[in-house]
Symmetry: C2
Subunit: 392 residues, 2 copies
Amino acid sequence: MAVGHSLRGLDASALKVTGIDSPKPLPDPGSEELRNIKAATDRMIVASWSASKGWDTPEVVPYGPISLMPSASALQYGTQCFEGMKVFRGYDGRLRLFRPLYNCERLLKSGTRICLPSFDPKEVLKLIHKICELEAPRWLPKEQAGSALYIRPTLIASDSSLGFKVPEEAQLYIFLMYWPSPKPSSGPGQPPKTGVRLWASPETAVRAWPGGTGAAKVGGNYGAALPEHSLASSKGYNQVLWLYGPDRLITEAGSTNIFIMWRTNSGSLQMVTSPLDENNLILAGNTRRSIIELSRQMFAAGTANKEHELDVLERDIPIAEVEKAASQGRLVGAFVTGTAFWIQEISEIFYNSATIMVPMGTTPHVELLRGRMSDIMFGNVESDWVELVAEP
Amino acid sequence: MAVGHSLRGLDASALKVTGIDSPKPLPDPGSEELRNIKAATDRMIVASWSASKGWDTPEVVPYGPISLMPSASALQYGTQCFEGMKVFRGYDGRLRLFRPLYNCERLLKSGTRICLPSFDPKEVLKLIHKICELEAPRWLPKEQAGSALYIRPTLIASDSSLGFKVPEEAQLYIFLMYWPSPKPSSGPGQPPKTGVRLWASPETAVRAWPGGTGAAKVGGNYGAALPEHSLASSKGYNQVLWLYGPDRLITEAGSTNIFIMWRTNSGSLQMVTSPLDENNLILAGNTRRSIIELSRQMFAAGTANKEHELDVLERDIPIAEVEKAASQGRLVGAFVTGTAFWIQEISEIFYNSATIMVPMGTTPHVELLRGRMSDIMFGNVESDWVELVAEP
C-alpha cells in the first residue's frame, strides 16, 4: 500500500465536467415521480477513492444507476452515510446554500464513525457549489423564487471484499432532487388539524443508544427505525417521537429535531430541546442549531417584545415533564425542525395510551422563526449564514 | 396497490436458468482475489419484488454488478440483510447443506426487522439448492473433498424513492464465494500461539442494545462495529469481544458466538454461552445452536466418558466471572463459532488493561465437537442435519 503522503486528497478543482446531450423534461408539479421523491436532476457528481491511491478525479456524470458488486461493503455491511441540504432560489433571483460547510463537516464525521475515508469538507462544499451551478439554473429557474432543490451527498464503501474489514474502496456522489414541500402548519388562530401528530416509541423500540450511531447520519439508523415508523403511520401518526431510557427522554421525532415551548411555574417562557452530549443520541441538525441561535437573538430579554421573551435550553426532556406542563396548562407549543421537513408545529403526542394535546399558534415564535429563516435562505435579508452559488 | 391475495409469492419452481458461454477460470489457491474474499462463482440467482406485484420470477444470471439508483433505500437507509451458509463437498463426493432452512428462516426474520418483504423460507432454500447444483460441480469439484463454498443470500431494498418509508421494491440475490479457511487452532499439547486473540470492548463502544438490531443480520450492525474492530486489529487482536452494559456481559466476539468452559467451585465442568433472550443482543448462530445440542448429547452425564461430562448453560456471562475463573485456575478453555469462522479456540482476552490467558487444548471437547461437526458436514456420519444437493 502506498504511504500516506502520496495519497491524493479530494480535489474539486480537478472536476471533469461533461455536457448533456438531451436534458430530461422537468417533472410536472404533482407528478407521481415528484411526489414519490424520485425526481432527480440530469447530472450528479461522483468521485472514487481507494486506499492505495486516495481520491480519484471527481466527475460530473448523468444521473443514473450506481454499479456495485453484490458483495460490496455498502450493500452488505451498512458502510454508507449521507447528508441532506438544500439550494434555495431567492426572491432576488439568486441561488443560495444555507450554512453548507456544516453539512460537509458532518458528512466527514458520519463517515468516520463507520471507517469511510477522510476528505477535506471544503472540497465537498466546492463540489456542491459546482453541481448547483450546473443543474439549478434549469431545475430551479429564476421564476421559482421561494423554492428549493434538495441536495443529497452520499458516501458509500464500494469495496467488493466480503470480508469484514475497513473498506479499501469508496464512492462519493452528490445528486439533486425535488423534495415536495411539507404541508405548512396553520398560522395563529387556525385549527390545529394540519399539525404534526407524533407517536411516542415504547421501551421495546430504541432508535439510538450511548456508544451507538445516533449522532451520525448513517443508513443503519434509518432501516432499523422503519417498523416503528410504519406502525405509527398505520395509526395515522406522521412521525415516531423517539424516547430513550427509563426516564423516557425525548430525543428526536422521525428524522427531525424537536423543540418544546412551555411556561415555567413562575410564568416565564422556555424553549427546550435535547442536548448534544457524550451519549450521542441525536443528530446535530443544521436547522436545530440555527433555531437555537436565532431564538437566543430574537427572543432575548431586553431585545424582544417583552411578551416574546424566552430562554432557550439544551437539556434532557423526560416526556413526563411535557405531560405535566400540558395538564397544568403550561405547554405553549412544540415543533420539529429539519432540512427536508422544515419547521413544523406539533399538534399532538400519543404517549402511554393517552394523547397530549399540544397548543398550536398560541404564540408567534414559530412563525417569527420560520419567517427569519426564510428571509435568510431566500435572500430577503443579508446574512453570513448563506453562500451565493455562481450562475453562468 | 394490488390487494394482498393477488400478490405473487416467491416461487423457486419458476426459476429461469441460462447457461454461461465462457466460464471464468477458477482462481489459484492463494491468489489475491481469493485471499481478499472476492472470488465469486460464475452465476448468481436474483429475484425482484415490488409492493404492487409481489415476487417476480427468479433468474440465474452471470455474477456481476448490481445496478441501483443513487437514491436507493439500500444505499441510503440501510435496508439490507444477509445470510452466511456453506455448501460442503463430502468425502463421499456428495454436496451437502448444513441445517439450511434455519438460515432461510433467519433471513426472513432479519428482513422483517427492517421492513423488507416477506417470502416463504422454503422457496429461498430451493433457490439455494439450485445455485449450488449449478455452480458447485465446477467450483467445488469432487476431488476437493473436505472443502466448502460460502453462500451469501442477500436481501436489499431497491426502491429509489428518497423518502423515509417502507420500501416498495426489493431484490433478493444469492451468490457463492470462496472463503479462505481460517487457521486451525492447535490440537491438544500444541502451543497456544494460533488461538484467537480477543480485545474486549470498552463502555464507549456498543454493538447491540435492547430494542436494537443485534439479533438480526442487518448491515447496520457491521459498519458501526468497524472502528472498534479496526482498533483491535491495529493492536494485534483478531476480534472484538463485545461486552454489554454495566455488568460487562459477554455477548459476541467479532461476528461469532462465544463459548466459555470452566470448572465450578465444586469441580464440575460447565460450558456457558450468552442467552437468546428478549434483549436481542446476539445473533442466534446456526453453529451456536448445533454446538449446544451436540454438547448436550456428547457430554451428558452417563453418556460421556466420565471426565468429559459437562453441563451446557445459556446464561448471562459477566466477564468478571471469566477473570475470576482464570485467576482461580478454573478456566478450562473458550472458543468462538460461526459459519465463516468455524470453531476456533481463544488464547487470550484483553480486558480492562490486563490479559486473561485462556488455556487451549487442555480438554478434548473442542476437538471432539469440531470432529463431529465435520463428520456431519462432510458425510462421514449419517445425520438429519444435512441436506444433499442434487448434482447432474
